[in-house]
Amino acid sequence: MSANPQLKPFSFSEKAMLQMKDILSRYDSKRSALLPVLHLAQDEFGYVSDEVIEYVARIMDLSPAQVLEVVTFYTMYNKKPVGKNHFQFCVTLSCWMFGSHQLMKSACSRLGIREGETTADGQFTVSKMECLGSCGSAPVVQINETYYENLNPEKLNRLITSCKEGEPLIP
């Protein structure tokens, strides 16, 4: 993820262009490729800003409104920049039963932010998520794309420390 995505010009790199071509070849309608193209755009630009939405709309032959409604409907597209380590706590039943709310609170207080916020240094964001499909190993936190299961306060603390040191623990 780029620390300063707004400094990049809003155009896919050559590599991303090739990936997009491959994505488009998979569908019988261009619009069907919108979700994967938005994933690609988020990987490329760090988050999905208004400028990214306009760019995606242009290359997908859609109106910006058609892209915006999709971006805001799905939780995984970030309209704002997120931290380098995005802690996403599952708070639904099985995780909640084993204290996911308390874990999220303690992560927030250690990092000095509230749920949904990013630390000033851009290192951490804490979000709450609905069921992550890991109920048998509850509670779970997803950091960026990796699941850390059977979490407890001590493990969470080590996890935050390891992220601060730039070497996240092996799940």
Binding site: Q19, H39, E69, M76, L93, C135, I143, E145, P171
Partner: protein
């Protein structure tokens, strides 16, 4: 398509599954504990893709494949339990429109994590089932719609699809049959409603995951207004076994109306949560005690959510009297659903449990139908006033009235998925709500802002 983050190299399949238990009946998970079973050569060495070869080398007609499925009695494992063979047979014949098979791997029903095991460990079982299914009704393309959060699962399926292309099980003229088929992974982006089949179709079309009115049913007018079949991962994974062993062998397992086996994902207050496969019709106590090692910490069972959080709750007494099949669970006023079972011990406060679930549904309502958009929010707010000890005397009745008004009045069943649980909690555990009313500090008739 799947980004590699700095965490990514450390990712691995979840450490589930011990060796098979005696009380289990593993036909899907038979080789789940075999190392690297996700790879095509290991899968093939364990008899994988023999069903596909049987279909094409014996020149089975598409209709005979459908007949086999019908005879097996296989029912959809995603939640609704619709007979799979019938679903495939609804696709109109002699129609020029392209046909599509969509595999619903948007597993997001709270309590459900069984498909993840298949996706991560046995992707070829699902792929083999998909190719056979697609052949039966003439689909040239299929998509595996995987929830966005399952990055690792998506990567495993993507790899497995590439392997299947390399050996000629996908692509043009599969095994000399003249049948062409292409398969792709399509990742979702975080929306529970996309597990609903018409919501999934909208999402695949590049739109918000808004469900559509039925009829027309997807089999007639689905993805891009073309005939489309949507099947759950587990359903498709059953197909190779049925082809290999015959529909009679499959139908011999289970009960009169619930044939075969079912994968259960059990979480909550059990000693060993996890995914277990048992014959349909097995007693509840077998799953709870023999598979999951009973309740954690020697406590007593209070209640069970049998089939994912949308399933009405059953009491401990009802649970022990039920067997694990569609009919028996329905006779206790609940449903088998996705097989996502959540066990609640005597220490659990069911008003708090229901409040947590109401938050989920309020968050995940797509906002299209008024009874759902407003109703889920209202239920959440009222349950919140219970847990904040601010409930009004009339609130039990209000919960009942709002949930009744949500039932059956919306395009999809998301509203019912919280309305039915609310009614079941009120009916089966009224004392839990009463307790909160007695301790409520709000004696006025006015709701306080919380």
């Amino acid at each position: 398509m799947i980004k590699k983050t700095h965490h990514f190299k450390n990712m691995r399949a979840m450490a589930i599954q011990q060796t098979p238990l005696k009380s289990e009946k593993r036909i899907l998970l038979e080789h789940e504990h075999v190392p690297e079973i996700n790879k095509i050569d290991v899968y093939t060495s364990k008899g994988g893709y023999s069903a596909l070869k049987k279909v094409f080398q014996n020149k089975m007609t598409p209709d005979s494949v459908i007949d086999l499925m019908k005879a097996s009695g296989l029912r959809g494992r995603g939640g609704a339990g619709f007979p799979t063979g019938s679903k495939w047979s609804f696709v109109p014949k002699g129609n020029d429109k392209p046909k599509y098979l969509l595999c619903n791997a948007d597993e997001s029903e709270p309590g459900t994590f069984k498909d993840r095991v298949l996706l991560e460990k046995l992707p070829h079982l699902m792929i083999e089932g998909m190719i056979i299914g697609a052949y039966s009704f003439g689909a040239r393309k299929s998509y595996v719609y995987i929830r966005g959060e399952y990055t690792y699962a998506a990567m495993m399926v993507e790899k497995a699809i590439q392997e299947a292309y390399q050996v000629g099980y996908l692509g043009k003229n599969i095994l000399g049959s003249g049948f062409d088929h292409d398969m792709y992974v399509h990742r979702g982006a975080g929306a529970y409603i996309c597990g609903e089949e018409t919501g999934l179709i909208s999402s695949l079309e590049g739109k918000k995951g808004w469900p559509k009115l039925k009829p027309p049913f997807p089999a007639v007018e689905g993805y891009l207004k073309c005939p489309t079949v949507v099947n759950n991962v587990e359903t498709l994974a059953c197909v190779p076994w049925i082809i290999n062993n015959g529909p009679e062998a499959y139908a011999k397992m289970g009960t009169e109306k619930s044939k075969g086996t079912k994968m259960w994902s059990v979480s909550g207050d059990v000693a060993q949560p996890g995914v277990y496969e048992v014959e349909l019709g097995a007693p509840f106590s077998v799953l709870l005690n023999d598979c999951c090692g009973g309740i954690r910490g020697g406590k007593k069972l209070k209640a069970v959510i049998p089939g994912g959080s949308s399933a009405p709750i059953v009491t401990a007494e009802e649970a022990f009297a039920m067997t694990l099949d569609y009919e028996s669970i329905a006779s206790k006023g609940s449903m088998l659903g996705s097989g996502g079972m959540i066990i609640l011990d005597e220490s659990r406060d069911l008003v708090q449990v229901l409040k947590n679930l109401s938050e989920f549904y309020a968050d995940e309502s797509c906002g299209q139908c008024t009874p759902c958009r407003e109703g889920t929010g209202w239920l959440e707010k009222i349950l919140h006033s219970f847990t904040e000890k601010q409930a009004l005397k009339t609130d039990i009745e209000l919960l009942d009235r709002i949930s009744s008004n949500m039932l059956g009045r919306t395009i999809c069943v998301l509203a019912d998925s919280i309305a039915m649980p609310v009614q079941s909690y009120l009916k089966k555990f009224p004392q839990e709500f009463q307790k909160y009313l007695e301790t409520s500090s709000n004696t006025s008739r006015q709701r306080r802002a919380l």
